[in-house]
């Protein structure tokens, strides 16, 4: 028991640190990718190739002046970013980070909690995730913030539906709600992206919308709403909002990789004849590479596509993605019934 418990604690801490680190370096990556796409150099002053830039940013955030508007709801104003980052972190609990380790004869899963309703858990946490933005935006007592919050809530509710339906198709072909099981089955057979190409596309678009990333970053679009829901925020509270956004990106990349790209699985994994621990390490690395690719993809899209108009966003969500997702579900059901 003790070994398992210690391993769990280590795992939790490790994932926490990893998430923070990835989020921090995502900001750096974002700038570098943007610079690359715009044929510039990007940050290169702090450290070699600007590698210490995230640290410098952190220091800046922490040392700036705390500012709380007088007309705001103080408690909720502080609670908002905290809630947002909390929900962003919670999802990582059910993601299987790699094949199980074997230490001293005990099997230790690289997953904080292998609950058998993992998929539902993810959906639940994602659906709760909007509160941080809503509370923060409302508590600021600023019309731009309020508009941002309202936009965020309706956008996230709208896209949750299509996302949920496309995840259900995965559940239908897998027959399980456990993420571990979903990855395991992909390791045995083919990756889900081959079975569910349409579902993957819908999930991808919805993931963009759920993380408020461009081209769906309407809750915070600078050109219309100044800064959206975080207009009134400054210093580290703003930092938390931004940070949480990158965390969300990280987690949703992990979810895409888990659901559609086999998680930690890579081809010919079983044929290598390696020990479980080596495999676990290799699997984790592969998984991480997949995640990094999708983070890059996120940025690639952001610096390539223009922003949607709000009615276009709603149109896409309700009139295109949901019908498509429903059709996809019907087709999957018919297919699995017939074959």
């Amino acid at each position: 028991m003790t070994l398992a418990l210690i391993a769990k604690i280590i795992l939790v801490v490790a994932i926490f640190v990893l998430t923070l680190a990835v989020a921090a370096y995502s900001t750096y990556l974002e700038r570098k990718v943007a610079a690359f796409l715009q044929d510039r150099l990007g940050p290169d002053r702090a450290g070699p190739w600007g590698l210490l830039q995230p640290l410098a940013d952190g220091v800046k955030m922490f040392t700036k002046e705390e500012f709380i508007p007088a007309a705001s709801e103080k408690f909720l104003f502080i609670l908002g970013p905290g809630l947002f980052i909390l929900t962003a972190l919670m999802t990582s609990a059910v993601i299987p980070w790699g094949p199980a380790l074997v230490i001293a004869g005990e099997v230790i899963a690289l997953q904080v909690a292998d609950i058998d309703i993992g998929v539902l858990y993810v959906l639940g946490v994602v659906s709760v995730g909007v509160y941080g933005i809503m509370i923060g935006g409302w508590a600021s007592n600023n019309k731009y913030s309020l508009l941002g919050a309202v936009r965020a809530s309706s956008q996230m509710i709208s896209y949750e539906l299509a996302m949920g339906i496309s995840v259900i198709t995965i559940v239908m072909i897998t027959g399980s709600l456990s993420l571990n099981e979903i990855v395991g089955q992909q390791a045995q057979g083919t990756w889900n992206v081959l079975k569910q190409p349409l579902g993957f596309l819908i999930f991808l678009v919805c993931a963009f919308a759920e993380t408020n990333r461009a081209p769906f970053d309407l809750p915070e679009c600078e050109t219309e709403l100044v800064g959206g829901y975080h207009t009134e925020y400054s210093s580290m509270k703003l930092g938390l909002f931004l940070f949480a956004e990158y965390m969300n990106m990280f987690i949703s990349s992990a979810m895409i990789a888990t659901l559609y790209f086999g998680g930690w699985h890579f081809p010919y994994m079983d044929k290598l004849g390696l020990g479980p621990n080596t495999l676990a390490f290799l699997g984790f690395t592969v998984f991480f590479l997949k995640i990094v690719f999708f983070i890059f993809f996120y940025m690639w899209v952001r610096w390539t596509l223009p922003r949607f108009r709000y009615d276009q966003l709603m149109h896409l969500g309700w009139k295109v993605l949901i019908p498509l997702a429903l059709l996809n579900m019907l087709a999957t059901g018919a297919f699995s019934l017939l074959f």
Binding site: I117, L123, S127, V128, Y131, M134, L146, S153, S154, I157
Partner: protein, 163 residues
């Protein structure tokens, strides 16, 4: 274990009271969300895993977001709600209080089955799914029609062109 339950119960009741007595409607919504979270916790204690997650997704994730959304959309502040007359308030409080008394009194008298079940897996998605799609399949399908009707109805109501 039982302390978790009593804590959750206390928390739920407290938040529910705040829902009623809080002047600012947005705070009311937030307290109601907390109440629902406590209730979700109670579901976990009852081994009702599925209910827990559905409570989270449906109530906290959808219904309450909708409430919050509407409140923010209408931009209602605490000043906008006029207070009731004292007569109505006392009448309401007395009615609700006596309702509670009677309810507890009546339920105290009911016969509970003394034989408690040892089955712990009935709240799992697998079990509930099987029951839902065999015994309750017709209500399930009817519920989907209800949803469709509600959706069409609210879209129609929300259209501005009608007026």
């Amino acid at each position: 274990m039982q302390y978790i339950f009593y804590t959750l119960a206390f928390f739920a009741i407290l938040c529910a009271l705040f829902v009623v007595f809080e002047k600012n409607p947005v705070h009311s919504v937030l307290y109601l969300i907390l109440t629902f979270f406590s209730i979700a916790g109670i579901y976990v204690l009852l081994n009702a895993q599925f209910l827990f997650i559905v409570q989270l997704i449906v109530y906290s994730g959808a219904i309450m977001v909708l409430f919050l959304f509407v409140l923010m959309l209408l931009n209602l502040n605490k000043d906008t709600e006029p207070q009731k007359s004292v007569i109505f308030k006392t009448a309401g409080a007395i009615a609700a209080g006596s309702f509670l008394l009677v309810l507890v009194a009546v339920l105290k008298d009911t016969q509970q089955s003394t034989e408690l079940s040892a089955m712990t897996d009935i709240g799992l998605v697998k079990q509930l799914g099987k029951t839902l799609f065999t015994k309750f399949v017709v209500p399930f399908e009817v519920a989907s029609i209800l949803f469709l009707a509600a959706m069409v109805g609210s879209v129609l109501l929300g259209k501005k062109e009608l007026y």
